[in-house]
Symmetry: C2
DNA sequence: GCATGTGAATAGATTCACAGCG
DNA sequence: CGCTGTGAATCTATTCACATGC
């Protein structure tokens, strides 16, 4: 019953991993699962799983394990996945197109409700299930559609500008794929994902002995007038 | 002169960030840079920058700062970016196409030398500057082309299989975009990137107060028969 | 008896603060 | 005298180990 405890960033970053694993177990008709089995599937240590879950309030049964369905429910609740989050994609290039058409988004509770680009060739074209709007309309469309999260897939040169426009229009989370560091106002959460950086990190470990441990990425939020910093995740 | 010191994972994950910032400074004709300016551009704290760089052997000048060109050179060296790394893309769907055509790869010293898919519709089609080969030929093409890094952009169901095939053929680093946890043999470095997970993490911070700090992702390597775990970075 | 839940121990990362040097 | 380089202090995260309770 640690329900008031503050959940560590590292734990928050692992909850979605557990969720993914739990959904696999659920699909296999498992009704109960041990920390050990969950840990193996998620690629972490069993003690880690137990400690992480204990921050949520500990929903396991000693001698038995965790109820799969209930845990899924609780993690979903903690992550705020009750209702579909409304997202916008800014930048309708190849990457934006790929993400917009990615079926994993609706499957995980995210709904693309707008897309933007400043290339007039792209404006009006379909991107996933929406039409690309001009960047000049970001403010009105974002507030009209109540967009909560903006995914930035513009070139580096445009990234800070669109982040500024999106946050000014009320977006509270930014997922930046542009290969540059952007900063966001206080109270806006930010995560950055850069293919080149990932490859460079791998390159390091190729040169030197491969590292011994696996570590998750950590959250990149912002309460203070935070700058940027991090790197993180995407899907196929 | 801490040249023998082991470089912490967290530092390794930030070196590419510094590199990116330094290249921007170089483009602006700055010949020397303070830890403070570099920190601001990279979105971290100045003390962090100094400590991180001190692991490389400390190439700064007190009262002045760091020589931009020299630092770029040293970080590139540490990251093993002397010669272009040879990469393969496995999975020629939208995301694979987007990554294969991404100009940031060659710009940062990575060369796509092969692509694979098991859909016969896609085999033979161009992906970036190469042609898609059938998955059945992975072993020979990977060893023939001396592929060092495999980028996995298949559906989740195929991911572990292609990772096994790639590592068996000699690939030493895996960048997994498939939304599932994969495991790799000892000595193979692994990083995982999942769009859905990133969004779920942002969703958490949207619900609760936004986090106060920014944190970088951490490396996901493997010396032991390591399982998977992490999340991390890509670009637009 | 078996697997959770958790304090305590350990390890790792960040930040401070200042001595040292150009 | 400014800025690096780095020990020491702090904070965060991971792992251990075992008491607890089903």
């Amino acid at each position: 019953m640690a329900s008031v405890r503050r959940i560590p960033q590292a734990t928050v970053a692992r909850l979605p991993l557990y969720l993914r694993a739990l959904e696999e177990f659920a699909a296999e008709r498992a009704s109960t699962i041990s920390s050990e089995a969950l840990a193996a599937r998620a690629g972490v240590n069993a003690a880690q799983v137990r400690k992480d879950l204990s921050y949520l309030g500990s929903y396991g049964t000693r001698g038995v394990g965790y109820d799969v369905a209930y845990l899924v429910h609780e993690i979903n609740r903690q992550l705020g996945l009750g209702e579909a989050r409304r997202v916008a994609i800014v930048g309708a290039g190849r990457l934006g197109q790929a993400l917009g058409g990615y079926g994993g988004l609706p499957a995980r509770g995210f709904r693309v409700v707008a897309a933007f680009d400043n290339d007039s060739e792209k404006v009006g074209a379909p991107l996933g299930s929406v039409q690309v709007s001009p960047v000049s309309q970001m403010a009105e469309v974002i507030s009209g559609e109540r967009v909560a999260i903006a995914i930035v897939t513009t070139p580096a040169s445009a990234a800070q500008m669109v982040v500024d426009a999106a946050t000014a229009a009320g977006v509270k989370s930014i997922l930046n794929f542009a290969p540059t560091t952007v900063s966001v106002p206080a109270g806006v959460a930010l995560r950055q994902v850069d293919l080149g950086i990932e490859l460079q990190i791998l390159s390091f470990y190729q040169e030197h002995e491969a590292a011994s441990k696996i570590s998750p990425s950590v959250a990149g939020g912002a309460l203070p007038g935070t700058v940027p910093g991090a790197a993180a995740s995407i899907a196929g």
